[in-house]
C-alpha cells in the first residue's frame, strides 16, 4: 500500500516537481491569505492572465528558457499590476469590470503570441507539466521563495495595517501604496515561479484555494497562514500522485485536490456550527 505513495517519487522528475511544489507551498498561500483578506481575489485572476503575454515574448526571444519566460512574465505581471492600480484610482467605471477587461485582453494576447510560435505547447504553458521542472526551474522557484518569505515577514505589519485600516495608515503618515505594490510584486513573482510546474492558469490555484480554505481551520491571521501552507503542501503531494496515476496534468490535479480540501473544511466547519447551535 505504502509503495503507491513512495514509488512515483522514486522518479527524478516527480521528485523535482514535488520539491518545487512544496517550496511554492511555503510562500504562495500566505500571500493568498492576504489577497483574500484584502478582497482582492479577482486581482489574482488578473495577474495570472497578465503574466502570459510576457511569458510568450520571453519564449519568442529565447525559446523554452525558464529564465527568459520567467523574466518576461514578471515584467508583464508588474505592468498589469501598475495598470490595475492606475485603473483602481477612479477612471469612470467599476473597478471589477475594468480588471476583467484587463485580464481578458492579456489572456487573448498571450494565447495569440504563443500560438504564433512553433514548437511551444500552449497546454504546457497554461496547465503546466511536471516533466518541465528541470534544475533551472527548481532554482527559479527556490530563489523566488527564498526572496518572498523574508520580504513578506519584513512588510508584515504595514501590510496588516494597510489591509485592516488604510484610512488610519494614511492618517498616521504611512504610505500605503508602497506596501500594496511590494505585496503585488511578491504575488507576481510567486505566480510566475509556479507556472512551469502548474501552468499560468493553475499557479494561482495553489495560492488561492489553500488560503480560501484556511479560514475554516483558524480564526487568527497567523493560524490561517500556517493552515494555508499545510493545506497547500498536502494538495501538492496528493495532487502530484493523482497526476501520476491518472495522467491529469499536474496543475489541475493539485488545484482539484486543494479545492477538495477547501470543501472538506467547509463541510466540517458548517457541521461544527450546526452542532454548536443545537
Amino acid at each position: 500500500m505504502l509503495h503507491l505513495f513512495t514509488e512515483p517519487f522514486a522518479l527524478g522528475f516527480m521528485r523535482r516537481a514535488l520539491i518545487g511544489c512544496l517550496a511554492l507551498s511555503c510562500a504562495a498561500p500566505p500571500l493568498g491569505v492576504f489577497l483574500v483578506l484584502r478582497r482582492m481575489s479577482l486581482m489574482s485572476d488578473v495577474l495570472q492572465h497578465g503574466v502570459l503575454p510576457g511569458i510568450a515574448v520571453g519564449a519568442a526571444v529565447a525559446g523554452m528558457s525558464v529564465w527568459a519566460m520567467g523574466l518576461g512574465g514578471v515584467a508583464a505581471g508588474l505592468m498589469v499590476a501598475l495598470l490595475a492600480g492606475w485603473l483602481a484610482r477612479g477612471r469612470g467605471a467599476h473597478e471589477d469590470s475594468q480588471l476583467a477587461g484587463v485580464y481578458l485582453i492579456a489572456l487573448a494576447l498571450g494565447v495569440a503570441l504563443i500560438s504564433a510560435q512553433r514548437g511551444i505547447d500552449l497546454t504546457h504553458i497554461l496547465f503546466g507539466s511536471v516533466l518541465a521542472v528541470d534544475d533551472s526551474a527548481l532554482y527559479a522557484i527556490a530563489g523566488v521563495v527564498t526572496l518572498a518569505l523574508p520580504a513578506l515577514a519584513l512588510i508584515w505589519r504595514p501590510l496588516i495595517l494597510e489591509s485592516l485600516d488604510p484610512g488610519f495608515l494614511a492618517a498616521t503618515g504611512g504610505r500605503g501604496a508602497i506596501w500594496h505594490m511590494t505585496f503585488l510584486a511578491l504575488v507576481v513573482l510567486c505566480v510566475v515561479a509556479g507556472f512551469v510546474a502548474l501552468g499560468t492558469l493553475m499557479s494561482v490555484g495553489l495560492m488561492m484555494l489553500p488560503a480560501i480554505g484556511a479560514r475554516h481551520w483558524s480564526g487568527s491571521l497567523q493560524g490561517q497562514v500556517k493552515a494555508s501552507v499545510l493545506l497547500a503542501a498536502i494538495a501538492s503531494v496528493v495532487g502530484l500522485l493523482l497526476s501520476y496515476y491518472t495522467d491529469i496534468p499536474a496543475g489541475p490535479a493539485i488545484v482539484l485536490t486543494a479545492g477538495a480540501l477547501w470543501m472538506l473544511g467547509l463541510l466540517i466547519s458548517s457541521l461544527a456550527e450546526r452542532g454548536s447551535v443545537r
Binding site: L161, L164, D165, F168, A171
Partner: protein
C-alpha cells in the same frame, strides 16, 4: 502636553465640485475642547480631514504650529477599519503605536502591555484576545479610543464619536475625553447633540452654509442652541 495653537487663515475647502467651507479664519487655542457643529454637508468632516492633512486646501493655509499632520490623531466617523479581519483587540490597539514605531521596529511585550492597560482604561479589561469581529458597536468604539490613547497625540480630532453608541458607552467615552482635556490636549469633536456640546465642551465652532461662527457654548441659550 503642550500643543501649539492651530490657526486657519482664509481656508477654503471643496468637497467634489462643491465649496463647503469659504474663507475660514480663526484659532483653536492650545488645550481647548471644541464642539464642531453644523448641519449635514456643512463641511465638518472635510475640515477635520484637512487638519489631518488628508484633504487638499483650495485656498488659504493651516498653521499647525510645527506639528506634522500625522501628529494629529483623527478618529473618522464609521472607521474604514475592516472588522472582518482576523485580528485581536490588543493588536488593533497596539497598532496605534505604528505611526511612531515605524514599519519595521518591533512592537513587543511592553507595548502589548500598554495596549492591555489602555483596554482596561476604556472599560474592556480581559478582552485583549477577543477578535474585533466579535465586538458590539459600543465595544468597538471603545477599542478605537484605546488605540487613540496609544497614539498619544497632542491634538485629537473625533468625528461623531458618540453617534453609534449607547448612553453608558457615551458616558464612559466622555470621561476619557475629559481626561485628555485635563492633560491639555487640543480636542475637536464633531457633535450633533447640542445639549452634550453645551454640557461638556467649553468652545465651539459652528459651520453653516460656508460660514463659520466661533464662540463659547456657555453663551448658547439652554435647550435652544440650534
Amino acid at each position: 502636553m503642550n500643543p501649539p495653537a492651530i490657526r486657519f487663515d482664509g481656508v477654503t475647502l471643496r468637497h467634489g465640485p462643491r465649496e463647503v467651507i469659504r474663507d475660514l479664519t480663526g484659532t483653536f487655542a492650545p488645550g481647548s475642547l471644541i464642539a464642531l457643529t453644523g448641519e449635514n454637508g456643512a463641511g465638518k468632516t472635510t475640515l477635520l480631514r484637512a487638519l489631518a492633512g488628508l484633504h487638499p486646501l483650495t485656498a488659504g493655509a493651516i498653521d499647525r504650529g510645527g506639528l506634522a499632520p500625522s501628529d494629529i490623531a483623527l478618529l473618522p466617523q464609521g472607521s474604514q477599519l475592516d472588522r472582518s479581519f482576523p485580528i485581536a483587540c490588543r493588536d488593533v490597539v497596539a497598532l496605534g503605536l505604528a505611526g511612531r514605531v515605524g514599519p519595521f521596529r518591533g512592537i513587543g511585550r511592553a507595548q502589548l502591555q500598554q495596549a492591555d492597560t489602555a483596554l482596561e482604561a476604556v472599560g474592556l479589561p480581559a478582552l485583549g484576545r477577543r477578535a474585533i469581529g466579535a465586538l458590539s458597536a459600543g465595544q468597538f468604539q471603545r477599542v478605537l479610543f484605546a488605540r487613540l490613547m496609544l497614539q498619544d497625540a497632542p491634538v485629537l480630532l473625533l468625528d461623531e464619536p458618540f453617534a453609534a453608541v449607547d448612553t453608558a458607552t457615551a458616558h464612559d467615552l466622555l470621561r476619557i475625553l475629559h481626561r485628555w482635556h485635563a492633560e491639555h490636549r487640543t480636542i475637536v469633536t464633531v457633535l450633533h447633540d447640542l445639549d452634550m456640546a453645551r454640557d461638556h465642551f467649553p468652545d465651539s465652532l459652528h459651520l453653516s452654509g460656508g460660514n463659520a461662527v466661533w464662540g463659547k457654548t456657555a453663551a448658547w441659550t439652554p435647550r435652544a442652541a440650534a
